[in-house]
Amino acid sequence: MATTMARPAAVRQPAARRTLGARLRRTGVRNAVLFVGLGIFTVWTLFPILWIVSTSLKPDRDLYRKVSLLPSRITNAHYVEVLRETPFPTYFRNSFLVASATTVIAMVVAVLAAYAMTRLSFRGRGFVARATIVTYLIPPALLFIPLFQVAQQMPFTGQAAGLVVIYLIFAVPFSTWLAISYFNTIPSDLEDAAMVDGASRLRSLFTIFVPLALPALAVIALFTFTHAWNEFLFALLLIGRDSQKTVPIGLHEFVNGDVFAWGPLMAGSLIASLPPVLIYVLAQKWVVSGLGGGAIKG
């Protein structure tokens, strides 16, 4: 009991002095500024999200005829419609498969490459590291015209599976770069001991490195998944048939039809936002502290 009482105080003291407004703390000015500032930011951040929620739960009458901010009564009709009467479940499944496959392939490629670049001695290491970063930074907008042309001759085009190949453009350099950063923090004596034991390189990779870097690798995987889940442009360019569409293009077409079905659209949007948002809430701790260096999202 005594320790639990003592600890927060001990921690809070230095931390409190560290912050910018520490001196204003007792004056109340700091609190007022924080309260107003964060209040404005919260409203600014949340109103579109609440509008999605509100729209998705309103009967059509509240949406178009007698408009209201909040639902006059809550209905699940839009959710039923989007799940039963549209191909949304198919889109969702396609997105899930594409994002999962992209993530798995990218992680394997990244772990192998990052191991080579942090633990093996060979000429050309610097060049490959530089090429990886440059590739990560090259914006896909510069590539989509030629890729569109190339993809038209490929066997996979038009199928969701073809998107996996395209998504590796972002996923592989990104995960490789982050994996290099994490592998660099793993002390090398661990591995030297394993070498004496006669473990092979590949075994040391999977028995020592991967388990040690597992939390980090999980975070990288979550980001890769989210990126593939959210991708729009290439899916739009390469997918035509309904059965192969992913969620972003599927939802976008809800709007381009003749009828603007905002209710089902917002219901679908809410469902489609859940995976990345949940992933992000779970990984939030590492987002701020761990992923410095700027390699976060494309």
């Binding site: 912050t19 930011f41 192998l112 290491r125 989509f144 990345p276 260096g293």
Partner: protein, 322 residues
């Protein structure tokens, strides 16, 4: 054991104890297994990035319409974009729009992101929850963000902003946020700011947490006020993070097509025609002139080379720190 690929490389490892062969001296001790492990990465870098990149430059030198054979035209496409009768106006308009769009979005995201990070770096009750809430836009799929704002901007009284104006502020006139050429670009920029600010906040917050507290204590003892401490300690310490974040975001913001595509498709009268949108309209949607569209992208590339060069240097120098 023997079934595990890579084990056959073991003799190469044992050889390190003995004098190295000429090949190993030249290529490095583990060159065989290293390049084997790098092979998948190299396939992606070469096959999916380098090849299309070169193919794009090649394509920009051809007259190529989808479904028809290509014809070599040299720099004709570039001439058409820069000084040609049909396209020059549109192209230079897209330069102006891209510049306004990117510069405004980056400047506002930087200011808002800094303000948010400074507040979130303070200690208060509910800090973790607050962070989670303010970071939400960043986690949402861009296309869903765009569609939601399209609904918020709706030009009828059903749109959120117009509804609030009419219902609570007594305005009569409905504002056409996306159809009015004077408002459309700012409406799209606003959406980019809404979603992009948390990334800046996150990067600044991470950098702020790395500043040693003693610096603030010393400054406080010297009687420096909040603003002095921000200018003398926080800002200089954040300089590298500001550079990296702004450059990364510049590349992404300028090249993203999603917001424009879903909100306005470049209209009204090209008021929001950023260059990726122009490339799409020229190459994919309308005339299907792939060569001309490729030239649009290639013309913009030099702008990003500078950003990519600086970022690559910075990221390589921070490599060890994770």
């Amino acid at each position: 054991m023997a079934a595990i690929p890579g084990t056959e490389r073991r003799p190469a490892l044992l050889r390190t104890a003995t004098p190295r062969s000429a090949v190993s001296r030249l290529l490095g001790r583990d060159w065989r297994i290293a390049w084997l492990f790098l092979l998948p990465l190299l396939l992606v870098l070469v096959g999916l990035v380098t090849y299309p990149f070169i193919a794009g430059i090649w394509l920009s030198l051809q007259r190529k319409v989808v479904g028809e054979p290509a014809a070599w035209v040299g720099l004709q496409n570039y001439r058409e974009l820069l000084v040609g009768e049909q396209y020059a106006g549109t192209f230079w308009n897209s330069v102006r729009v891209s510049l306004t769009y990117t510069a405004t979005a980056i400047a506002v995201k930087l200011l808002l992101g800094m303000a948010m990070a400074l507040m979130l770096n303070e200690r208060f009750r509910g800090q973790t929850l607050m962070r989670a809430v303010l970071f939400l836009p960043w986690a949402m799929p861009t296309i869903i963000v765009a569609l939601t704002w399209r609904w918020i901007y709706d030009g009828s009284v059903a749109g959120l902003i117009n509804f609030v104006r009419v219902e609570y502020f007594g305005q009569e006139e409905l504002v056409q946020f996306l159809a009015d050429p004077k408002l459309a670009l700012w409406s799209v920029v606003t959406v980019a700011i809404w979603q992009g600010t948390p990334f800046f906040t996150m990067m600044f917050l991470a950098a702020m947490q790395a500043i040693p507290g003693e610096q603030y204590e010393a400054a406080a003892l010297d009687g420096a006020n909040v603003f002095r401490r921000f200018a003398d300690i926080t800002l200089p310490s954040l300089a590298p993070a500001i550079t990296i974040t702004a450059l990364l975001s510049t590349i992404w913001t300028a090249n993203s097509i999603n917001f424009v595509f879903a909100l306005t498709r470049g209209g009204p009268v090209n008021a929001t025609m950023t260059f990726p949108m122009l490339a799409y309209e020229v190459g994919i949607a309308g005339a299907r002139q792939l060569g001309l569209a490729a030239a649009v992208s290639v013309l913009f590339f030099p702008v990003f080379i500078v950003a990519i060069y600086i970022l690559t240097k910075r990221m390589l120098s921070t490599e060890g720190r994770a």
